[in-house]
Amino acid sequence: MNRVLLARLIDLVIVLFGVSIIVFLMIRMIPGDAVAIMLGANTEITPERMAELNRRVGLDRPIVEQYLLWAGSALRGDFGTSLWTGRPVSTEILLHLWPTLELTFLALLVGAVLAVPVGCLMAQTRGGAADVAMRVSAIAGLTIPSFWLGIVLILLLSAWAPGFASLGYVPFSEDPVGNLQRMMLPAFALALPILANLSRLVRSAMLDALGQDYVRTARAKGLPERRVVYKHALRNALIPFLTSVGIMTGYLLGGAIVVEQVFAIPGLGRLILGAIAERNYPLIQATILVVTAGFVFVNFLVDFLYIVVDPRVRA
């Protein structure tokens, strides 16, 4: 078990290193002089000002040194100051992180919790017209654009319950009911593709598990069918489910950025889109780095859980 874990840890470090290099190089691939762009249209661009900013950003040093300086301070949580607000970039990210994390978490919860019974149901009613209908609706769920679903939900709600506040964001600590009320629709819109994907996965894993010897043994022992399905088959079917949940977080984080825009939630989506509009490159860089690192860690944790849950991987 320790050896498997060690190998995964080494993978983790290599991937994080690669991610940091790509994010670091991104800003240097911008056509034209990034420094001139950063100075913006408001100030007159003089050679002295350029040199000043070059020195401040560290662009006058060799590229390897630049990377080491940048990565070193990033590891300490220092991403520099936002070019426009003058606040530290880390503060900006923290301010916008919670709404996105909450939305991602709620959507994952809704999707994953509903996927298990839906998938089991799909597995048990297999064959015939019901099977085709379920498959087609699962694909439809998978391909509904979540931002459009959000817009349609807002429209429907405004027609049926005009008083229901569905837009904007209030922190959970200030108004828990208002927070969950506003998060309900975006979380559902974001969760639907996940639900479709995961329930299909549970279905095929369940069909797989139901055909195994240990299920036949359980049936032969005379256990009730419900116990066979939910205790013996489901437990084994959930192992591939776990890995998918990790990969889904990446999709959810990206989807949340889009859905946030529909529901006027001040999350990372607003931050990064604002940063692109103002060409605030350090902020874009830091946001991408932090979110990707978070995603990589989540997948590492899932792998770790996988090792704990599935005794076969340990060997």
């Binding site: 993978d11 290599i14 991937v15 690669g18 991610v19 790509i22 994010v23 991104m26 800003i27 691939m29 911008i30 056509p31 064959g127 085709v132 498959r135 087609v136 694909i139 439809a140 998978l142 391909t143 509904i144 654009p145 931002f147 459009w148 679903l149 817009i151 349609v152 807002i154 429209l155 405004s158 279905r203 095929s204 069909l207 990446g250 999709y251 984080l253 990206g254 989807g255 950025i257 889009v258 825009q261 529909v262 989506g269 990064i272 889109l273 940063a275 692109i276 490159y281 874009i284 991408i288 979110v291 990707t292 995603f295 990589v296």
Partner: protein
């Protein structure tokens, strides 16, 4: 009986995709109006005989703009997925065929690209290139390259171990000949299925990027853009947003169903299973 039902599903998917392809590529032939023609007097109209899907905030015909939007989305996604297939496929095959350190380096780089959440990497690439339809296509191409590389490397590894590849090597066939004539044709079904599924996903990514203002720029007709523009007039006239959303859904749905049905038909091991 079951096999027949599956082929019916495949036939349905093929028809659905074909209709949309014809509509998209023949947009100038089918569209009732000029996609750019504005009419201040006929703004935000609901569907009628004159404008089947209504008009948008500038009085442009929504149906016309959806047909042209199909074209923009489809062309961008076909280019993007095509490049990803070519680059990712080549990398995956090279990695599988030559193994060793080349394999390790290629797949490590692919792992790193794969580690980014799709939308985030796409947004980062667009931040560098500037918002444009082709930036969105380039972003999608980069994001999907590691997926194709991973998908093709696995089955290619198995094929490289096969006896006929060993035989081809023994009679002195060149590496290129073995890769193109002996390995690639055997991967055709995997490629077909995955290209269709990834096209379905790419359509959603392109629409999302355009919706965020990072893809196709106005006044070019784009499905994602129509949604974000229509959003500002939802309470006055939701038609352009609603129909543009349905268009994205149908397009993505068609390709996904096609990929799914193809997988069932082409993979004999899956027959009677999922």
């Amino acid at each position: 009986m079951k096999q027949l039902a599956k082929n019916k599903l495949l036939a349905f998917a093929v028809v659905l995709v074909a209709i949309q392809l014809i509509l998209a590529l023949g947009a100038p032939l089918f569209a009732p109006y000029d996609p750019m023609a504005q009419s201040v007097a006929r703004r935000l109209r609901p569907p009628s005989w004159l404008n089947w899907f209504g008009t948008d905030q500038l009085g442009r015909d929504v149906l016309t703009r959806i047909l042209y939007g199909y074209r923009t989305s489809l062309i961008a996604c076909l280019i993007a997925v095509g490049i990803a297939l070519f680059a990712g496929g080549a990398l995956g095959l090279i990695a599988a065929y030559y193994r060793g350190w080349l394999d390790r380096i290629i797949m490590r780089v692919m792992d790193v690209l794969f580690a980014f959440p799709v939308m985030l990497l796409a947004i980062g690439i667009i931040a560098v290139l500037g918002p444009h339809t082709y930036s969105a296509a380039a972003a999608i191409a980069v994001v999907y390259t590691p997926i194709f590389a991973r998908l093709l490397r696995g089955p290619a590894l198995v094929l490289c171990e096969s006896e006929y590849v060993a035989g081809a090597k023994a009679i002195g066939a060149s590496d290129a000949r073995i890769i193109f004539l002996h390995i690639l044709p055997n991967l055709a079904s995997v490629i077909l299925v995955q290209t269709s599924l990834l096209l379905s996903a790419a359509i959603l990514v392109e629409a999302s990027l355009s919706f965020l203002g990072l893809g196709t720029q106005p006044p070019t007709p784009s499905l994602g853009l129509m949604l974000s523009e229509g959003r500002n007039f939802l309470m006055l006239s939701p038609w352009s947003a609603i129909f543009a959303g349905f268009a994205i859904l149908f397009l993505s749905f068609g390709f996904n169903l096609l990929g799914d049905a193809l997988r069932d038909t082409l993979d004999p091991r899956l027959r009677g299973q999922s």
